[in-house]
């Protein structure tokens, strides 16, 4: 590629303006031998347009920092401007030059750039915009040829790789144990094509790591030896009947083990190519159009599994974020909660927050498991939180039920609920138990009292009259409320509540109790498990 000249400028606007960029350009061009006047003029104009565009629009008038890097190769010049602006997607393709007679005063910037250079690209990575311009130098330019897309070889390649790596890491799949939902696909591929092996390979930094192997492929190998690393450079299916006969891939062939290869790229949810589904064989073979189609279908399947697990883990994060994280100040009281969904997300939740002089405490269990229940659970939480600001406990549940009834009726779901308010001075806990019935008070003297459920769950009977009951917690007493998933951890009967009550009296803090349940539930709970423990010091 010959000698290369690189210049980088850090731009802060204000006070910097496009004039600062002009100065950098002038000093850069001095260092580039044989720069043709036309190249210089075109690049100056395009880069200044870009800088002006970023300074004017990218941050809606707020200060902006940007880095401009110019690399002059002997055959091309590449410029990348990376800025901290908020601009999202940019439709470069769709920006055409306004008609002259319309006399538009603006809107020409991007169209002008496109006319001046061969490539205008925009990428958004990690909250930064990366704009790349590439112009083939006059020395290699074909006279009168229209601009032709010229992929940037330096900067955007690095940016792409960064984006790819980050997307892969965000999926949280690297170095996880084998999973049947992926192994099913590789087993099927191996059988279907009658090959030695099939793999789902992910390209991570300088290594290839296999999420699934059917056959005798390696779980890990250097990226430099990987054929899938070549597959992910493009969108197409890579088919190599005989690696030994391919000059570029010959060095990756292994006699009797890896001679035939076919692979199709796999994408992260954002579209980055993170790996490939491949099949391979120790002998050369052909791979028909129809077989390629089947491989693509299987790759789509893997893709869906990858995406589904990614979206679910995001949803799980969001749902955990809705649980009360920090303790509200409750002098003389100790409160702890835990919620362990059976799947990534669940229909249980607990909540507490200050209301007036006391604290509102909720535990709810939406019928069912998984995403549908989780959506309803989030709605119930929000509605109860706003209703709790008005009136007493029964009034709050009444208001919440009235808003939720239509939704619950439509979805055919119902919700069991304990919602109460604790007076921290007197220890009086006033509550509505809507079909829940899984609350006990463990008294200091060792007796366990179960709180009665007097009303049906939300969503069952629209005309329910919500009535509150109350119980007083004395120093040393503990209130425990749980979802029915807790029962399954013991013998499946309500006796489980008595056991937890006894445990709570032995424990010195509320979180000791929730930790014990969490340990017991991990990995074995068939249903969502949720527990809230409220202890009065004494």
């Amino acid at each position: 590629m010959g000698e290369m000249v690189t210049r980088t400028l850090r731009l802060m606007s204000p006070p910097d303006t496009v004039d600062t960029v002009h100065d950098l350009l002038d000093s850069t061009w001095e260092a580039v031998p044989d720069l043709h006047m036309r190249d210089r003029m075109a690049l100056d104009t395009a880069i200044i347009e870009l800088a002006a565009n970023v300074i004017q629009h990218a941050n809606r008038g707020r200060p902006i920092t940007a880095t401009l890097t110019i690399i002059a190769f002997t055959d091309r010049i590449e410029a990348t401007l990376s800025d901290s602006g908020e601009i999202g997607e940019v439709d470069i393709e769709g920006r055409t030059m306004p008609e002259a007679d319309e006399l538009a005063e603006s809107g020409r910037g991007i169209a002008l750039m496109k006319a001046l250079v061969d490539t205008v690209e925009h990428r958004r990575v990690d909250g930064f915009n990366h704009w790349t311009l590439v112009r083939a130098r006059e020395q290699v330019r074909i006279p009168d040829a229209p601009p032709k897309h010229m992929p940037s070889v330096s900067i955007s390649g690095i940016i792409d790789e960064m984006a790819r790596q980050r997307a892969l890491e965000e999926m949280g799949i690297l170095d996880t144990p084998p999973e049947d939902r992926f192994d099913r696909v590789t087993r099927l591929a191996k059988q279907l094509f009658g090959v030695d092996g099939a793999m789902i390979n992910l390209i991570d930094g300088d290594r290839q790591w296999a999420k699934s192997v059917a056959g005798n492929g390696p779980e890990e190998m250097p990226r430099s030896a990987s054929v899938c690393a070549v597959t992910i450079e493009d969108e197409r299916t890579l088919v190599v009947p005989n690696l030994f006969e391919n000059p570029e891939l010959r060095d990756k062939a292994v006699a009797d083990e890896l001679v035939f290869y076919a692979g199709h790229p796999l994408h992260a949810p954002g579209g980055e190519r993170i790996g490939a589904l491949c099949v391979y064989d120790g002998s050369p073979r052909t791979f028909s159009e129809r077989e390629q189609e089947m491989l693509r279908d299987l790759a789509d399947w893997v893709q869906q599994e990858l995406t589904a697990s990614h979206e679910l883990s995001r949803a799980a994060e969001v749902q955990q974020g809705l649980l009360p994280q920090s303790l509200i100040s409750m002098p003389g009281w100790d409160i702890a909660g835990m919620c362990l969904p059976a799947r990534a997300v669940g229909g249980d939740f607990y909540d507490w927050y200050p209301v007036g002089e006391g604290a509102a405490i909720t535990l709810a269990d939406t019928m069912g498991k998984g995403i549908g229940s989780a959506i309803i659970a989030a709605t119930v939480r929000a509605v109860l939180r706003s209703a709790a600001r008005f009136g007493d406990v029964a009034g709050a549940v009444d208001l919440a039920a009235a808003s939720l009834n239509a939704d619950l009726d439509t979805t055919g779901l119902f919700v069991t609920l304990l919602h109460g308010r604790l007076d921290m001075d007197t220890g009086e806990f006033t509550y509505v138990d809507a079909g829940h019935g899984l609350t006990v008070v463990a008294r200091r003297d060792g007796t366990i009292e179960r709180l009665r459920s007097s009303t049906p769950p939300l969503g069952v009977d629209l005309d329910t009259e919500w009535q509150s009951s109350s119980v007083t917690l004395n120093p040393g007493d503990v209130l425990i409320t749980a979802s029915d998933g807790l029962l399954d951890l013991y013998d499946g009967t309500l006796d489980a509540l008595d056991k937890i009550g006894a445990l709570a009296l032995l424990a010195s803090t509320s979180s000791e109790v929730t930790d014990a349940v969490r340990t017991r539930a991990r990995g074995v709970a068939p249903d969502d498990v949720t527990v809230v423990v409220v202890r009065r010091d004494g």
């Binding site: 303006t17 496009v18 004039d19 002009h22 006047m37 003029m41 075109a42 100056d44 104009t45 200044i48 347009e49 002006a52 300074i55 004017q56 030059m97 008609e99 002259a100 007679d101 006399l103 538009a104 005063e105 603006s106 020409r108 910037g109 169209a111 002008l112 006319a115 001046l116």
Partner: protein, 111 residues
């Protein structure tokens, strides 16, 4: 950027610009044309022989001036644009609307 306005006896306003005509300086050029139009001299010749660089913001200012001048029965014509300015006029197809001449006299030959 420097900007100077000369009023010719035949009613033509000559605006001479030197330096870069970009987003930093565009508003001043637009204002200079506006001022000429408001003082009832809407026939404007912008001398660009000293402008080594024009970007789309600068071009926008010339177009804004052109619209103002035309509404008042005048025009904006360019005098001796440099190579880079011609490139921009050419690629944006605005050269057909903002016409270029060798001198102020040839821009408005009939005075």
């Amino acid at each position: 950027m420097d900007i100077s306005t000369t009023q010719h006896g035949n009613g033509v306003t000559e605006i001479g610009v030197t330096g870069r005509l970009n987003m930093v300086t565009a508003a001043r050029v637009r204002d200079a044309i506006q001022t000429a139009v408001e003082s009832n001299h809407p026939r404007v010749a912008v001398d660009l022989s000293g402008v080594l660089f024009l970007d789309s913001s600068g071009l926008g200012a010339l177009i804004a001036g052109l619209k103002t001048a035309r509404e008042a029965g005048g025009d904006v014509r360019l005098v001796r644009p440099t190579e880079q300015v011609e490139l921009v006029l050419d690629l944006t197809n605005m050269g057909t609307v903002l016409k270029s001449f060798d001198s102020v006299e040839s821009a408005y030959p009939h005075g």
